[in-house]
Symmetry: C2
Subunit: 346 residues, 2 copies
DNA sequence: ATCGTTCATTTGAACGTTCATAATGTGTCC
DNA sequence: GGACACATTATGAACGTTCAAATGAACGAT
């Protein structure tokens, strides 16, 4: 089996030879340029360019005892994957080079993740830390990882224990509150709410923002309803909700799929979204974009940046922050709250 | 800065000492068990378990001159990311351990990918090869990589040059043809088509399957229309299309979004999908699932498996295959072609 | 002239693994 | 009994990098 020869890759010794210096000087030129005299620096860097040298990450990992990589689990169980999973992974991947690391996804077909999967990756020195997603109340992973001494950061609050601070999340309440503000500005006067069945921490939070927003802007509190994250059930719930609303009212929703349900139910009874009824969703998902629904876009870039900082700090032994971090979503306006024929003050 | 001590990780020498053998014997016990006598083997493996030893991938990479990793680019440019991007990445990630490797995603905000990004990852020994996605006619990447001697495999045909064989794709024509067969079985007699504007290789392929299917099953050829991958434009095109169809007819679509457009247009004129009009989409995307549209699900697991085999073979210097590989999509039936009240023969 | 100080650079060692090869023991055949 | 084949285990070296410590040179201050 004649092994395909990799295109000749220059090593640090090749560069050293070509520049007439030692290994270490090349290493310094790259990692601590201030330690190298200006003329040797430029000479070395030029050779680096000529030979297209890049330090081997494997050798670095071996030497530093640090993989320079962060693992993250992809949900592979059949069912509805989170609508923001890919954009979030993309945000992490984009932010990683700024933290001198890269992402390593992993997945299993087991319904529930197992610690051993996480542990193995660390033991094999494939990753130093993890970014968790879809963290839910009673999620065992924060406990596991903490006891195993494995750094992590979670996208989504960690509910069990308020002493856990290694997370970042979207400020749902502020988001729906901002949605109500937008509806008020646009001219809607009564605002209802379509959420998830009570008990979901994320959903309850978003509901509170609706209540606060309606009060703060002196609007009329419309009815509320709940449905799970399924379009058909969202439509059913929306139909009941619309029975209690009139043309000119609005509905704030806890997710984009729920908002889509309201949109479909409205269309079914001939109400034009954005004109006859205002609808806002939550998450900034592709679904909202596709259906032109106003939605609260999660600041995934900021969150990814923050989470990588958090794991980096843990690896560096920096003191833990005092609390998790909340980030504000931003409203993206679609046709579901404003149409070309602007609503005037009646 | 007190560095957080990694939980003590056992090395191969620790295992060797504890088992009373040499490094190499431990290595053999793990990599070539047949070279080790049965009793030493079991003794060593037991110690491996006790100490929870896992070989350092960094040391292996350094020694083998092979990263054991495959890179893949995430499309980070704003716009509509492919609906199957995440499921496909998940499929790759699931298949990777079977090929003794892991995936490394990367991304940039540049509109067009640059070779240098790919080259750097190889030079840093972060990855050995790449899986390309969204390959389009005149895509420069296959050329680049081939000239740089970097192994790759593409999800999606490589159009420029039929001598390129390192790809796998979905058999679009067979897919739409199967969709027509399903519609025929279900009782539809006239079948139209909603595709993308002519010139898209993927779209043209899927259109041919519709034509062939209609002929093969002796159905009536309905009208056809085209729209880009945007819901509003799909709806407009679908409205024109439906004008030329009657209740009881069906439409095969080149994508799930287009199918959604037909569904929405049908609902708008009071036609019940699955009963009054049959609709099939393509891709098995979350959109189709959400809206309960019959769709042709891409066999992503098979494709991922195949692509990893392809890059592995290249790395091993195996002879190139004679052609790319096509995989059949499978039809998932939703409410858009069959409803609870089964269509009988009239 | 001698001694320290500082700066730029070099050298030896180590990170953990596996390849190539050597050493050891175990029979087998004449 | 000795030469040979074979199975099993052990040793040295190398992959490419960076840390810690050593060397050498230039410069003042004494």
């Amino acid at each position: 089996m004649l092994n395909m020869p990799h295109p000749a890759r220059a090593t640090i010794v090749d560069v050293a030879r070509a520049a007439g210096v030692s290994r270490q000087t090349v290493s310094n030129a790259i990692n601590s340029p201030e330690r190298v005299s200006p003329d040797t620096l430029s000479r070395v860097l030029q050779v680096v360019e000529e030979l297209n040298y890049r330090p081997s990450s494997a050798a670095r990992t071996l030497r530093h005892q640090r993989a320079g990589a962060v693992g993250t689990e992809l949900n592979a169980v059949t069912g509805t994957p989170s609508e923001v999973a890919l954009p979030f992974l993309t945000a992490l991947t984009l932010a990683a080079p700024g933290h001198a690391c890269h992402m390593v996804p992993f997945a299993s077909r087991e319904a529930f993740p197992m610690l051993s999967g996480y542990q193995d990756m660390v033991r094999r020195r494939l990753v130093d830390a993890f970014v968790l997603t879809d963290t839910h109340p009673a999620d065992p992973r924060p406990d596991w990882l903490e006891q195993a001494g494995i750094p992590y950061a979670s996208f989504g609050r960690i509910y069990d224990d308020s002493s856990r601070v290694w997370w970042a999340d979207v400020d749902g309440s502020a988001g729906t509150s901002a949605a109500v503000a937008h509806l008020a500005e646009t001219g809607f006067r009564t605002v209802g709410f379509l959420g998830w069945p009570a008990g979901s921490a994320v959903g309850d939070d978003r509901r509170l923002g609706w209540l606060a927003g309606v009060e703060q802007h002196g609007l009329a509190l419309g009815p509320e309803a709940a449905a799970p994250q399924s379009l058909s059930q969202a439509i059913s719930a929306a139909e009941r909700l619309l029975d209690g609303l009139a043309v000119g009212d609005a509905v704030v929703c806890a997710s984009d799929v729920l908002a889509l349900g309201v949109q479909q139910a409205a269309l079914a009874r001939g109400w034009r979204p954005g004109r006859d009824i205002g609808i806002t969703g939550f998450d900034g998902s592709a679904t909202a974009q596709l259906h032109d629904i106003s939605t609260l876009v999660q600041p995934l870039d900021e969150i990814a940046e923050h989470l990588l900082t958090v794991v980096h700090d843990q690896l560096a032994g920096a003191p833990a922050p005092t609390q998790g971090a909340l980030f504000l979503p931003t409203l993206t306006v679609g046709a579901s709250t404003v149409t070309t024929s602007m609503k005037g003050t009646p």
